[in-house]
Point group: C5
Chain length 354, copies 5
């Protein structure tokens, strides 16, 4: 769970800042690394197992380095050396479980984002950290496991469709952020479906399980929220920063992805409101049912208790009980019981309990 | 439902930004397009099935292009070419289910607004997207289906009443926004009527259905809210922007429509407060009724259980039971039962249960 | 009710802005108009049935025009012509049910305020709109019906007490605003009295009616709130505006009335908190009573059910039941029942139910 | 109660601003006035019954005028004349029940503060208004009754300890504010004790009285809050104002008292949170107890109802009932009843109700 | 408890500001003092029992003075003399139980921070005050008892690892703050574990104890919150202050520790949300169980009450009861009872109660 990842940071207590220790669950056996070198006309894609020190950062070609798996401190520190990254940035990359943030480091911009997925089996949000580095001619992306989130971008880069190839690394960074935000819509759609299913269950037959699922969904929206609210700030800041790394033409695209995050927040808040409303309905339908059960008990008891008493009276063994000898005593007593029961039923009718 | 539209965006995941795909429900079989060319003295109204590339944007005449139905990417992209619109703007037009927003694009201003209606059958808010483009001598409006929202404006333009004809396109844009906000008052009025009806039901006879309707109304106010809050910002921004597209004389009208949105927000928040209060009343009246039911049960049971016990005692078959032989045993036992019952009734009276 | 007035605006849907139609309930058969011309030495008071076009705005005399009843569009438009008011301002005057606001129009300042009263019969807040226009040498006030709110100001003007006569129209406007805010203290006092009465009822004997009154009071504080919060902003703005219409010496008085509105807000919020607390007490006292009722039922049932069973056993008609023949069988069985009952009572005592 | 004082302002409705009428409860029969003239070397303390017009404001001596009892408009207006105070300031002094505020009047600074005490008998917060005037060489303080709040300051002034004597009147004003804020800690301590006592009661034996006390304490924290939040702003403003009346060296002390108010706010909010939590515990323990009561009823009823039925069957008087003649019929029936009862008990055990 | 410490300040009421009295619990018998003098090449560590007036503040060496135990006013005032500290700062050091704050005093910066620990026995947060003074070549730290929080920093200083030795005292101050914030992650981890355990208990078997623990954890998160929110402001302010005491190179590290506090806040808020959700689940599961208990009672009662009545009827002793003489009367009556019971069971089945 997300919150466990957050608290995992406790293993680093006492170590000097900048110490490279992986904080979080190890999700891949071996890190995978891709290098994609591209310009307007060419794309070269290389899969390597380790970064070479003599990484060719040629003139006129942008490079996208993608690292899946951040538990290997050697790879991270090597990248740090090549691209001259601050030790705290390297620490942040390995310290998964952070909230989205942005650091402007002069020569490069560092972004922490979160990849989200909805696990339909455990009905929980899966949350992984994605770190992005945007430099003058490079983009470096780090993810914890092999998620499909950047596949469409890679595909578009390969095929040369859209403006991806002839725009700079800032546009690539935008495209990656956009891909991450797009995932959120998928998560929202899945949550929306679950909410709709539960809404129907709630009307038909509220179970204790329904309540648990409402709470699980509420926790899921909480997780979503905690990823998207800071993300909104990050993107807003990215759009407004005067850094030369972000070209003016990309800013309008960043504003677009900003609108998307606002939309995600908006829908998330709506989901929260709907789920709160569902909780209210659930609790009041519990009360309703208890009311009904008690009403049945009351009606049965109230009708039969008095007439059982009458039967009890004539079951007494006193020697002198004149009614017992009457010719119509038995039927008379039955008749009285009937009157009693009917008057009770009439009373309940008038009270609209029946 | 609105939230489903919001999550429908998931179909676009992985596509490059600017791809023209209609996101949302297709609400019209064929798009309808009107062109209205007007100046202070003349009005010309043309209904076309497709936009011609050689659309006459004459000097001295303003044009209002109205497109109902935004699922046809060909029409949208053709308009984009004629008026030189940014691809992201075109994408936004086709991507229904967005929240109100404003984009100042230099040569034109782009607005996303929402048309709302209250469906009295399903008791839900119907929400459609309306996109507005305000250029130096044109206004382009897009709606999802054939709503009546702009009819009064068109009528006023035809009849030349008011300042619509001799004011610029900024005043026309204002008139369209005003028409949209006016619809909200109709929605509010309908919601207000429903609330009043339910308020009476609540006092007379709270049913489970009442609770569901309270929640449906609460969701409706939620929807309303989510359309109006960002709208307020949009209009405020529109009034304050220094864009030459908005003349000074129109600003005072924008401030007026701003006041209307504030009034809509105010009423919406009041409705929410009232509905929350109704929920409290509903729940406590449930408790009240349960109390009453249990009280009836308790009174009946408490009166009859002890005297049934007495009857049971004298129904025992012991050979040596002296009371059974007494001359007044039977009537004595009845008298004791009466005393028991009366003392119970007295007790309840004192406790103010009866 | 206030909210109905708010939604009444729906009748204007589709009309061009600036159309003079009265929105709201017509509260007076005929509008009444007073003109009060005053300077440091003289006061002239004229009651007219319609405004003459040649209204004497003499040099050296300030004029206060007071119009009660705003449903007659002719009177309003005539005033508009004489004082050269913007059509939207005239529309706002006739459009009752607006929230407090301020419009600085250059030559004059326009204020919408709300008169409040607490109707002790319906136990609801009565809310009417008051519009104020402050010009260089005039004040125009509009109210919906004949309220007593401005009587003290008129009286002071007649008697020439205080600084009213020799201060400008800005001080008169301040005096009117102050008179309106003073009314709020009366409303607060009445609400405070009701709250205290209900607080006592709540402790002694909570009824369903109590709950309804708590909710009516809560709605009343809601109404109050919605009038006072925007009023605070209006007055704050009025004090800070650099308009030459407001003299420096009046600003300190405006700050004073600002403090009063803050005090009204403060008390209103306290009332809301107290009413929320009362709701909690009410609900928990409902639970308490249900607890008590169920306890009585349980005690009675638990004592008598087992001993009734014993009586039932010895009421069986088996031929071979040795106890029935015992000399002390009957008294023994009674003794056992007594023991049963006493041990139950002991058990309840130990549980502190008795 | 505080809120009553607030609403008492209603008596002034209709009077011109600046009218000196005492608003609030008269808490002293006769006002008491002290004059303390001091400089670095001398202290002179005079108790007078009325202020003389020829009040000696000598060069080189600071004066502290302290007035206990603000209902005598003559004294207040005389002070106003001597120190040339604005009529609205005088009105504010007599108008008790205001929230803390600050008015910078050029030649002097006016402060409204609140003295708080916790009445252990009525368990309510006592709140009185304290007004302070800080001039170039004087401090005037007004209180409603004879509270002990300024005694320590007077004592320190007499003894010449600390920097009080050789600092200016701004330091004296600071010392008075500090003395007021110090009182809040005493109130907090008393509230904290009550909360701890109730917390224990809640665990051991929740009574209806407990609920009432929780609410009384909640209202007390509300009162505290409403005095301290505006106070924080007042002190913050006092520290930041560039007024020559506040020397730079005093600013650091004001920042210290500011920290104390923040601490009071912090503790107050914590108390509120704790009290809310206690309310939740109280309500859920009510539910718990009801659960338990119903469980006892259910167990007893469920065990005995079936076996009473069996006894009832064999109490029937049919002529042909073979069991009645069986040798072991009676004991057999008793055995069946035992089985019934035991199986019920087993069922409850399995359900963990026993 | 924390709140008691806060209110302990009441002992100082009436004393002049700057009086050195220890406010809080005395947690150490004797204060312990370490002096650590270090530069890039050497480290000297001295443990003293009292500070000498001739404390060697040599050129070229930084000094870290650490004082554990702040109840001895002599030591504090001596340090105050040596380092020329403002009396209010000394008072703050001895006044434990303050919230985190920062004071920029020109020649030095004063920080109040809080050390937190989670006591697994009492299940409460332990909170102690830590005061830091950052001067041009010294850092002075004060803690209430001997906590392990600064041990890792001391160890790193001794071993000369990292940049601690050759960076200035501002880096040392950062390292101490970082060490404090790191402790919060440990507290969060322990809270997270407790929450997980309770979450499981809640699903399996909710007890009254569970509720109490939820509330204790809620109070713990409240405490955490109140320490971390102001800490965030403190660190943010420290990073932005233009004080020459903080070098530019340290600012990036402060931003890092700022991110950590944000993360702590984030997790704390999540814990609060989760605990609130758990409370809801707890309460609704209480309702659920009550429902179930009442259902069992109702089913048993409703099945047996009617048939017991039938048995009662045939137990009556009327002389003329024809059924009693019928050959199959007994079995017939049993058969009718069976039908009754079965129809009731069928009814419950249809209602889905069984």
């Amino acid at each position: 769970m997300y919150r466990l990842e957050l608290t995992k940071r406790a293993v680093k207590v006492g170590l000097p800042p900048g110490t490279l220790i992986h904080v979080g669950e190890k999700k891949l056996a071996e890190p995978e690394i891709w290098l994609i070198l591209y310009n307007e006309t060419t794309v070269e894609e290389i899969k390597v197992s380790k970064i070479e020190n003599d990484l060719k950062l040629e003139e006129g070609r942008n490079i996208w380095v993608h690292v899946a798996g951040v538990h290997d401190s050697q790879i991270i520190s090597q990248i740090g050396e090549i691209f001259k990254l601050h030790p705290l940035i390297l620490e942040d990359i390995m310290n998964t479980g952070q909230r989205p943030k942005i650091e402007e480091m002069g020569e490069y911009i560092f972004l922490v984002l979160r990849y989200l997925d909805y696990d339909e089996v455990t009905k929980e949000i899966i949350s992984e950290q994605i770190a992005l580095l945007l430099g003058p001619n490079y983009v470096i992306s780090f993810e914890e496991s092999l998620t499909p989130v950047f596949h469409p971008v890679k595909e578009r880069l390969r095929q040369g469709k859209g403006r991806l190839r002839y725009s700079g690394p800032d546009y690539l960074a935008y495209a990656l952020i956009d891909a991450i935000v797009d995932r959120y819509f998928i998560v929202l759609e899945k949550l929306g479906e679950r909410i709709e299913i539960i809404e129907e269950e709630l009307v038909e037959r509220p179970e204790k399980e329904t309540l648990n699922e409402i709470h699980r969904l509420k926790n899921a929206t909480l997780n979503l929220r905690r990823s998207v609210w800071p993300l909104r700030e990050v993107i807003s800041w990215l759009g407004r920063t005067g850094s030369p790394l972000i070209k003016e033409v990309t800013a309008v695209f960043l504003r677009d992805v900003y609108d998307h995050t606002v939309q995600v927040i908006d829908t998330t808040e709506t989901f929260r409101d709907i789920l709160s409303g569902m909780l209210d309905i659930y609790l009041s339908s519990l009360s309703h049912r208890m009311n009904e059960v008690i009403k049945v008990l009351t009606i049965i008891a109230t009708i039969f208790i008095p007439i059982t008493f009458i039967a009890g009276v004539y079951g007494m063994n006193f020697e002198y009980m004149p009614e017992l000898k009457w010719r119509w005593g038995y039927f008379g007593s039955l008749f009285i019981m009937l009157i009693c029961a009917l008057s009770m039923i009439y009373y309940f009718r008038r009270k609209k309990w029946l």
